[in-house]
């Protein structure tokens, strides 16, 4: 069956390998367009649907022309960043997760 993926994690999708991929370079959560921007969402779906017809080989990636909000230029650095002051808190989260799942404690 012909398929096309719309997503924002380009490295993961291209590592996996898919037939067709429309890449929305946005924070994870809104692959189909900015929240409440219904015109952008329709254009995004138009591009994705078009790939069903125009792609000629697997691993076809098309980058959406839309970018994230100009007033938020730092979003790329923000996701899952680990600052020195986060380390103790993150280790505690991991320890709690291992305990909850019955996994061996960290050694």
């Amino acid at each position: 069956m012909p398929t096309v993926v719309i997503g924002s994690a380009r490295d993961i999708v291209e590592h996996c390998g898919v037939p067709r991929f429309l890449f929305s370079d946005f924070p994870l959560g809104n692959p189909c367009g900015h929240p409440w921007d219904h015109a952008m969402q329709a254009e995004t779906l138009r591009l994705a649907a078009g790939l069903l017809e125009t792609a000629t080989a697997p691993r076809t990636t098309l980058r959406s022309p839309f970018g994230w909000k100009p007033e938020d230029p730092d979003w790329r650095d923000r996701y899952n960043r680990i600052r020195p002051e986060d380390r103790a808190r993150l280790l505690a989260i991991g320890d709690e997760r291992r305990r909850r799942r019955g996994q061996a404690p960290r050694t």
């Binding site: 490295d11 999708v13 994870l28 291992r98």
Partner: protein, 162 residues
């Protein structure tokens, strides 16, 4: 247009670093396919029925089993749930998921149908659970999704990853 273009976020490297910071020693192994299947459509886009596959389920939790695990679930395009289970890894610091259409584009697809860009939208959309276990996805969930898409007589599918 994109005024803030930059290199894509290195999600794999960030995820590895995050799990190391949580105290895990083994890196996550993402799915990797040397051979990627490719099917060409047998008819023009304007004549195709399109199915939609998403990673979010209904907010009432009816897509979860007794142990709380997410399962393949199907919703009706004409009466989607009022809220969604978006308990997945997305960027809670930079955005929100309050607009369903930003990850479940039912209205956008209906608009393309009205414009004649695509032929029709299937009556159902489908949830594929995001799983750490690749065998669960490839051996259990993907065949079930494909079966449901065939039942809906779709010609092609659009998958949106939250």
């Amino acid at each position: 247009m994109d005024e803030g273009a930059g290199p894509p976020v290195p999600y794999m490297a960030r995820t590895r670093a995050y799990y190391r910071a949580l105290g895990y020693d083994n890196d996550y192994a993402w799915a990797l396919h040397d051979d990627v299947p490719f099917a060409r459509p047998g008819k023009p886009l304007s004549a195709m029925t399109i199915g939609l596959v998403v990673t979010t389920g209904p907010g009432d939790g009816s897509h979860r089993d007794a142990q709380g695990r997410r399962r393949v679930w199907s919703g009706l395009v004409d009466s989607p749930p009022a809220s969604f289970d978006t308990d997945l890894a997305w960027d809670r610091e930079s955005t929100h998921t309050e607009d369903r259409e930003s990850f479940l584009p039912l209205d956008a697809l209906k608009r393309l149908v009205a414009e004649g860009v695509i032929g029709a939208l299937a009556p159902r959309f489908h949830l594929v659970p995001t799983e750490y276990s690749q065998p669960k996805t490839t051996g259990r969930d993907a065949p079930e999704i494909l079966k449901r898409l065939w039942e809906d007589e779709v010609d092609a599918a659009i998958l949106t990853a939250l």
